[in-house]
Point group: C2
Chain length 225, copies 2
């Protein structure tokens, strides 16, 4: 009985990674099966087969022109690569905390409004050990640090349950304990959310006043995992 492989075969990941290094994430790249074969240290025939397999698994899409095929990695393929990337990060970067660098910004008020709901506040107190100041500090994450959020989200955090109030429904949010300039705080993120370039920080104190922060000031947020 052959093993059932749920995970991406490591041979696929190798080919996909090399394609990514050629720039196939951002754009279509022209690469012949012979060239790919050289890169993967295998024959033209095997490289051609590998491409067909990757197409079959929907990790890449192809534009098979008359002379030269053009290949691009799909979002699904990028997702797979990120999984492996995050494993390496866990190996080499993680201790038990992670630091996100960013810049203080004026929030759109959105987050603050949600967070101040009575239904959340009680849970925050229980989970974090402090009653948050009524409002959030917004920090725009440095572009290079945005992917660190993937690692944070892959850790447990404190689940804060959603609720319904006045015919509005509020979803689950997750709080991760953190420190900003040595003050205890927490970052809060919606359980279901997409790409984010800003984190919202809650704290017992009014951080802007306590730490004398203004828009544009640089801060490091050290998150416990």
């Amino acid at each position: 009985m052959p093993a059932i492989r749920n995970r991406m075969g490591s041979k696929y990941s190798f080919a996909l990674r090399k394609l990514a290094l050629l720039g196939a994430i951002d754009d279509y790249i022209a690469v012949s099966s012979r060239e790919l074969g050289n890169i993967l240290e295998m024959s033209q025939q095997s490289a051609s087969k590998r491409i067909l397999e990757l197409l079959d698994e929907k990790y890449i899409v192809r534009d098979l022109g008359a002379r030269r095929q053009r290949i691009r990695i799909t979002p699904k393929g990028v997702e797979e690569l990120k999984k492996e990337y995050n494993e390496y990060r866990r190996i080499f970067e993680l201790t038990d905390q992670i630091t996100i660098h960013g810049t203080v910004a004026s929030g759109m008020g959105e987050g603050g409004y949600y967070i101040c709901q009575e239904g959340y506040m009680k849970q925050f107190e229980e989970a974090l050990g402090f009653t948050p100041f009524q409002g959030t500090l917004n920090v725009v994450i440095d572009p290079e640090d945005i992917s660190k959020l993937d690692i944070v989200r892959s850790s447990a955090g404190c689940m804060i349950n959603g609720f319904t109030c006045d015919e509005r429904s509020f979803g689950n949010v997750i709080a991760y304990k953190a420190k900003i300039r040595n003050k205890d705080c927490a970052i809060v993120v919606p359980e279901r959310s997409h790409y984010m370039d800003t984190i919202e920080i809650i704290c017992q104190f009014h951080l802007r006043h306590t730490l004398n922060l203004e828009d544009g000031d640089r801060v490091d947020v050290r998150i416990s995992l």
Copy 2:
């Protein structure tokens, strides 16, 4: 004719990575071939064979106790994993610059002494377009950012040739153009060097005065690749 594989087989890297995630980099870990088989989604027999192969390649060492083997990844194995990690970093982190975070520190004077040698100075001017101030600014790198130096070193940089003067020999150093608080500068590292937790920065100006820096101040050094 079978392909000659110089690179680590991707099947080895997969097993090695999973062992690393179990903590086999820092210490010996107890893991049976059956457990490893479950993790790698293969049979106990195949996992056992994989272990023998990794031993043969000297990626791991083993302490085969009476009841349970204990496995640890060798420096050579860690090196292989880092290569893959750096490929992923190139895919997901690199644009054309990298930012290293750190803290201003008092140098031991060492670097400054070397850098000020006439033999280096002329080359700096040619390679960087400015005559460095006679001295370096030392920045202690945040622990989590130390591995970023691997990536910097894997890029070209400006080679500054060594020379001999007064019976002392000065080795090659590599300069990487950078910016600190928006001022043009460069970091300089010896061509042959080991682990470093401090970078030395040269600049046209006296950075401590110009940027009003004191020991302990936090700075971001943005290095061009």
